[in-house]
């Protein structure tokens, strides 16, 4: 089943917006046209139809699927028809927009696949070669050819590896991530070091287990010891239980004994103390003395009823208590009376002090009154003298009135005299000045006589002493006025004198009264003081006697009590003797009991500590075991990981070996075929044979050393029969023929169902003859039934002229895009 291309329709794909249809059913199809007219687009459309993508999209990642859609349309439409050697027709439809993709495969007009991916898979199956192989061995691009011709040794070798399909093995060799494993190994080893360091700080498991065993043995010994002690404790407990009842009674009696002894001791001490104060007189006499003293006291304080009550009391040993009670009650009464007397004395003293104050006040006042009266007596004598000299006050007043009238008269005369004097002196002056003068009263001219009369009159007035008279009278008047005022004043004082005399009398009466009061009060104070003194004495003597009586009574009571206690003690001692209880023995058992108990506690504490130690040791053991286990696991992991790493290394090397083996086989076959093709294609006599040699070089990548096989193509030079490096010594054209021979050989050797070969610009730099030979040869090569050539080289039209059924398409640039025309030799 060898497949050939029959027809292609392409639109909306790369250079073509409109649908272009090309018939391809010819052994040789040449697509000629200048650059950019879409020659390669046609070849790529074949690739796209067959595989649903392009090598440049899928592997090289130079383009995206969207980039394949022509800018003036939104959908790729490709239809490719193929026919196999048995005449079966295959039609592939591909339609793709930016959002959707549809594909269809028809075989002999019957749809066999509908989905894109299924069509891809089906076509891969039908062709017997995948996209990678198709691009390497069927659709030969100038790029691949140039990589081989012009690339470095390494590029050439890599390109050839790609062509041989073994570059994958090289990539796997390089791509096995050993570093990943080694990094992990490093990390695990560092963790292991850490674990080992921790383990180094610990004792070994055996040591810990030994210690554990020792501690366990100790624990057993302790447990046995505790059991022994417990048994002894039970025995002591039973013994104590037996003695417990007696011990309780013994303790109670002992307690009583101690208490009684203490009480007896206290009573004796008290008695000893009281006996030193025991009175010499008998009790009944003392009682009578107290009774009589109290009765006297009661009577003196006029408490007769109480006195009678006391008189009735009879003394006997039995009634001493009640008698002493009554006597004490009466002493209390006397004390109350004494209290009253003290209060009364206080009151009287207060009154006395008040009267004494009053007395002092009156005396001071009386002295003042007497002093004032003495002064007023002197005033009275003065008054009497004045009255004798001037008369009574009334007479003085009358004389003053008379003097005042006389003074008034003299004042009027003096006034007239002044006027006359002044007038006369004025007339005299005028007359002396002017020798004439007029009367100031009647305005008549005055004569000399009249003037003389006037002068005499003036002189008379001058001589008359009215003024002096008046002055004398005024002096007398003032003297009388002073006397009058003095008299008035003295008379008034005499009134005050009378008042004071009355007051003096009243004060003297009051003074006498206060003096009497003071005398009375002083007597009263004396009397109360006496009573108080007396009562105090009675109370004191009675109390003293009663105290003595009380002591006598207390001694008697204490003696009785002492006898009772001694009796009680004797009873208790008898009971103790009857009890037959050995306290020392009991104490020794009890001591042993508590000692054993303490010992058990101590042993238990020791056991608890030991158990704690055991727990700690166990924990430590678990910890060390875990650590050991972890370390062992870690070591195991590291071991396995190392094994894995070695395995990977081995696999890595294996890929290299496989690559080398495949390479050798492939090269052997290729060299044979390549020589067949070269000898037919290369028409000149200078080179006759080709071979490929492989040498190994060493490379260093990622700190590792690698070996790499380098291909070298040699050509045998006929002139000297020597092998020369073809790609270094031969011309560009010769190199292309060599490489084309190699690629054609590869095509032939690769197992697939493709009977066509596609050459994209295969022959630049190759001369016409060689081009012609190459095409002829390719057409003859077994398995190559169809050659599709895309080229700018117009000479191909002539080269294929000899092939009658050859199809030549001429592609030209037009304003609407590319035009495609089938070239005709006519």
């Amino acid at each position: 089943m060898r497949l050939k291309l029959e027809e292609i329709e392409v639109g909306g794909f790369k250079a073509f917006s409109e649908i272009k249809k090309l018939r391809l059913n010819s052994p040789v199809v040449v697509i000629v046209g200048p650059i950019g007219t879409g020659k390669t687009t046609i070849l790529e459309a074949i690739e796209y139809a067959l595989y649903g993508t392009l090598y440049s999209v899928k592997y090289r990642k130079e383009l995206k699927s969207e980039d394949l859609i022509n800018d003036f349309t939104d959908r790729i439409k490709i239809k490719l028809a193929l026919v196999d050697s048995s005449g079966r027709r295959y039609v592939v439809y591909r339609s793709r927009s930016r959002d959707s993709a549809e594909a269809l495969l028809e075989v002999d007009g019957k749809i066999v696949e509908k989905s894109w991916s299924k069509v891809d898979a089906k076509m891969r199956n039908i062709l017997g070669i995948d996209l990678d192989g198709f691009v390497r061995q069927v659709a030969l691009r100038s790029r691949e050819i140039e990589d081989i011709i012009y690339g470095t040794d390494m590029q050439r070798s890599e390109a050839l590896d790609r062509l041989l399909g073994i570059e994958t093995l090289e990539s796997i060799f390089r791509g096995i991530p050993l570093k990943l494993v080694e990094d992990k190994l490093e990390m695990l080893e560092s963790e292991l070091d850490f674990l080992k360091a921790r383990l180094a700080n610990e004792r070994s498991v055996e040591e810990i287990e030994r210690e554990l065993e020792e501690k366990r043995k100790k624990l057993l010994v302790l447990e046995e010891e505790i059991d022994r002690k417990k048994k002894a404790l039970i025995e002591y407990e039973h013994e104590l239980e037996k003695l417990k009842g007696k011990e309780k009674e013994y303790e109670r009696l002992k307690e009583q004994e101690i208490r009684l002894r203490a009480e007896i001791k206290q009573i004796k001490q008290r008695l000893k103390k009281l006996e030193s104060f025991t009175p010499t007189e008998p009790a009944d006499i003392l009682f009578e003395k107290a009774k009589s003293s109290i009765i006297n006291g009661l009577k003196e304080t006029m408490l007769y009823k109480d006195a009678e009550e006391v008189e009735k009391i009879e003394f006997s040993r039995d009634t001493i208590d009640s008698a002493l009670q009554v006597l004490n009650a009466k002493i209390k009464r006397l004390e109350a009376s004494l209290e009253d007397l003290n209060s009364e004395l206080l009151e009287v003293n207060y009154q006395l002090a008040s009267e004494r104050n009053k007395y002092n006040l009156l005396r001071r006042k009386l002295a003042e009154v007497e002093a004032e009266l003495y002064t007023l007596e002197k005033n009275y004598n003065t008054l009497r003298g004045l009255v004798e000299k001037y008369g009574s006050r009334e007479n003085v007043r009358k004389r003053i009135s008379l003097l005042e009238v006389e003074i008034e008269k003299l004042e009027k005369i003096s006034e007239i005299n002044n006027c006359v004097y002044n007038l006369g002196r004025s007339v005299i002056s005028t007359y002396l000045k002017e020798s004439s003068a007029t009367c100031p009263v009647c305005d008549t001219e005055l004569n000399e006589q009249q003037i003389k009369k006037i002068k005499d009159k003036v002189n008379l007035i001058k001589k008359e002493d009215v003024f002096l008279k008046r002055e004398k009278l005024v002096k007398n008047l003032n003297g009388l006025k002073r006397v009058y005022v003095k008299l008035s004043e003295l008379e008034e004082r005499m009134l005050r004198k009378n008042e004071l005399e009355l007051e003096k009398k009243s004060l003297e009466n009051e003074f006498d009264e206060v003096s009497n009061n003071i005398e009375e009060l002083e007597e009263l104070v004396e009397e109360v003081n006496f009573k108080i003194s007396r009562l105090t004495s009675i109370i004191s003597s009675s109390s003293s006697i009663i105290t003595k009586l009380s002591r006598i009574k207390e001694i008697s009571e204490l003696q009785r009590e002492l006898e009772d206690k001694k009796r009680e003690l004797s009873e208790v001692l008898k009971k103790i003797a009857r009890l037959d209880f050995d306290k020392k023995y009991y104490n020794s058992i009890e001591e042993k009991y508590y000692l054993t108990m303490n010992e058990i506690d101590r042993l238990k504490a020791e056991m608890a500590n030991l158990e704690k130690d055991l727990e700690n040791i166990k924990e430590k053991l678990v910890y060390v075991k875990k650590l050991t286990e972890k370390t062992e696991k870690q070591e195991a992991k590291i071991f396995k990981l190392k094994e894995f790493r070695n395995k990977l290394l081995e696999i890595k090397i294996a890929f290299r070996e496989v690559q080398s083996s495949i390479r050798k086989i492939a090269i052997r076959k290729i060299v044979e075929k390549m020589n067949d093709i070269f000898q037919q294609m290369y028409v000149h006599p200078d080179y006759s044979e080709l071979t490929i040699r492989i040498r190994t070089i060493k490379l260093r990548r990622e700190d590792r050393e690698y070996e790499r096989s380098i291909y070298e193509i040699f050509a045998k030079r006929n002139r000297d029969r020597r092998w020369i490096p073809a790609l270094k010594k031969m011309s560009d054209g010769q190199k292309r023929i060599v490489v084309l021979s190699l690629l054609t050989a590869l095509f032939k050797l690769t197992p697939h169902n493709v009977a066509f070969i596609i050459l994209d610009e295969p022959t630049p730099s190759i001369d016409y003859e060689c081009r012609k030979a190459m095409i002829k040869l390719l057409a003859k090569v077994e398995g190559v039934d169809q050659i599709i050539i895309a080229t700018q080289d117009e000479s191909f039209k002539e080269i294929v002229r000899e092939v009658p059924s050859a199809l030549i398409y001429e592609l030209k640039h037009t304003p609407e895009g590319t035009s495609i025309n089938l070239y005709s030799f006519n």
Partner: protein, 59 residues
């Protein structure tokens, strides 16, 4: 005409031959080869990581 074996088939055959007594290694090598063809270097890393995880998780 006898069909020529392709490179894929040849590689598997060679690996089987290389590790003929070591089935585990052969299997690992073949799975690496296949995984590389599908997922490239990432595929190799995935396989190695899986193996490492298996080793590290083992108790």
């Amino acid at each position: 005409m006898k069909r020529e074996k392709n490179v894929f088939e040849l590689v598997l055959e060679f690996l089987d031959e290389r590790f003929k007594d070591e089935a585990e290694k052969a299997s690992l090598a073949k799975s690496m080869f296949k995984e590389y063809l599908v997922s490239g270097r990432k595929g190799l890393e995935k396989i190695v990581k899986e193996h490492m995880s298996k080793i590290l998780e083992e108790e």
